[in-house]
Amino acid sequence: MSALATTGEAVLDVVRDVKDILTMARRTVRVVLRGRVERKAVVEQMHEIGNRSVFFITVTMGFIGMILVFQSALQALRIVPDLTILGSTYGEILIRDIGASIGGMMLATRVGAGIAAEIGSMVVTEQVDALRMCSADPVEYLVAPRFVASVIMTFCLLIWACFVAYITGMLTAHMVFDVNYQTFANFMLVDRGDVIIGLTKCLAYGAAIPIVSAQRGLATFGGSEGVGAATTSAVVSSSLAVIVLQFIISAIGYLIFPG
């Protein structure tokens, strides 16, 4: 009985969290559609989320590009002796999935932790209650600007991430496996479907990360330890959100554009 109770409790927790996140998403989108978002706050958040992540994203995606090409070249060499299709295959898989998804995980870590820590410490110091007292909606003042900023900046950052990973991959292929640049830079396999799937992922991650982590931040309770717990749970939940969205979009994308 106790195993059943434990499982049931876990399932109920997940259902409750998903419901809370969807409610938050609905309210945020409603505020944004009404156009009630302060422009100055959006610009500030765009700087915080976007400009300050550029270095981090460039470093991690640079390494990822090198690792991926190295690993896939090793894998390919076991079956076929030449690496002429390495570049075109890498380009396709990077645009279709890996670029956006690994970059999205990275942003979920950095941006998600930042948003949850900031909103969470506002909650425990009762600044959010103060906003409510002034009949200001926290979703409108805190969540909506971060949402708009994140959708725009994540989109740009993930395209930059793909670019960086492609360049470092090309350099690795040239230096380690002696593939020349003209052979590598081949976009023959990239079609409309790949680009659409990739860009959809960029948009979806940009929208999911701020909503999930803002919900975690607003649900903070219990002093400074609570802020730590909220931050942890924001990183985990937004990374999971990225993985689940990656799965859903990839599966639907494969069914619509199999090729």
């Binding site: 876990a10 981090f56 470093v59 991690t60 390494f63 990822i64 090198m66 690792i67 991926l68 190295f70 690993q71 896939s72 090793l74 894998q75 076991r78 079956i79 295959t89 396709e92 898989i93 279709r96 999935d97 890996i98 998804s101 995980m105 990275m106 870590t109 950095r110 932790a113 930042g114 820590a117 900031e118 969470g120 410490s121 425990v124 002093g223 400074s224 330890e225 802020v227 730590g228 717990a229 931050t231 942890t232 990183v235 985990v236 990374s239 999971l240 993985i243 689940v244 990656q246 799965f247 990839s250 599966a251 494969y254 199999p258 090729g259």
Partner: protein
């Protein structure tokens, strides 16, 4: 007192120097902490109760999240390999294609990132809160070594548990890949496993597991270092958690790169 503004010509080099100094401070702190931990290991002085508590808290409680992550990772790798294998009409080797990438690279990497988000961040927050409430100083005043009592059990638990979780995650990921391959490409589970066992060698599996040990050490070091060096009260803890997660992720990628090249 207001800070003197540099002339515009010097602002660029000034900022660069500031960033380099800050980076050097953190890297130096990590190395010093690492040396101290090694010094405590000869001879080993570990609080056994703390060790068991941390093993449970970090490992057993991370199991659900690792299982979910691994399940999706396996399925996603098959979806990504699907267009390639259908193009070359080689559905039988999808097991190897997805399995190679998952076991060698993507599995250990993503599980380590989730572990860093859950356990590393939590650990930084806990040690940080203890630091700002002077509990670490209190331990020192009682002649209890904070490294032996607090840091060492956590470091050992993280390394051991990430390794164990990666082993479990690898198995689950292969399960997820089998289900996805059956549903999407109609590949028989038996031929999936067959291609995996024939084409994959032990070294591929071992590479992934060695990586998970390195990642565990990296997460443990960064999270303890940033937790112990928190300054500036409760907001400082939030900042430290953020910095620790970012540092762990960057460290994991850099280690991954070098270990991929060295382990071949």
């Amino acid at each position: 007192m207001t800070a003197r503004r540099d002339p515009w010509l010097l602002r660029g080099p000034g900022a660069l120097g500031g960033v380099s100094l800050a980076l050097g401070e953190q890297v130096g702190g990590l190395v010093v902490l690492f040396a101290r931990i090694i010094a405590r290991l000869l001879p080993p002085r570990i609080d056994r109760y703390e060790l068991v508590r941390n093993l449970h808290r970090m490992g057993v409680k991370s199991l659900p999240i690792v299982v979910v992550t691994a399940l999706f990772v396996g399925a996603i790798m098959v979806i990504q390999a699907a267009p390639l294998v259908t193009r070359f009409n080689a559905r039988e080797i999808v097991g190897w294609g997805a399995g190679f990438a998952t076991l060698r690279e993507v599995g250990p990497l993503l599980i380590a990132l989730m572990f860093s988000g859950r356990v590393g961040a939590n650990n930084t927050a806990e040690l940080g809160t203890m630091t700002v409430t002077s509990q670490i100083d209190a331990l020192r005043a009682l002649a209890i070594d904070p490294i032996a009592y607090l840091v060492l059990p956590r470091v050992i638990s993280m390394i051991v548990m990430l390794f164990v979780l990666t082993v479990i995650g690898d198995i689950v990921a292969i399960g997820g890949a089998i289900v996805a391959a059956k549903a999407l490409l109609d590949v028989d589970p038996r031929s999936f496993l067959n291609s995996l066992f024939v084409l994959l060698n032990e070294w591929d599996l071992l590479t992934g597991l060695i990586k998970s040990l390195l990642f565990g050490a990296m997460i443990a070091l960064t999270s303890c270092h940033f937790g112990l060096s928190v300054k500036g009260g409760a907001p400082g803890v939030g900042k430290a958690v953020n910095a620790a997660v970012v540092a762990a992720a960057s460290g994991i990628f850099i280690l991954d790169y070098f270990s991929s090249f060295i382990l071949g």
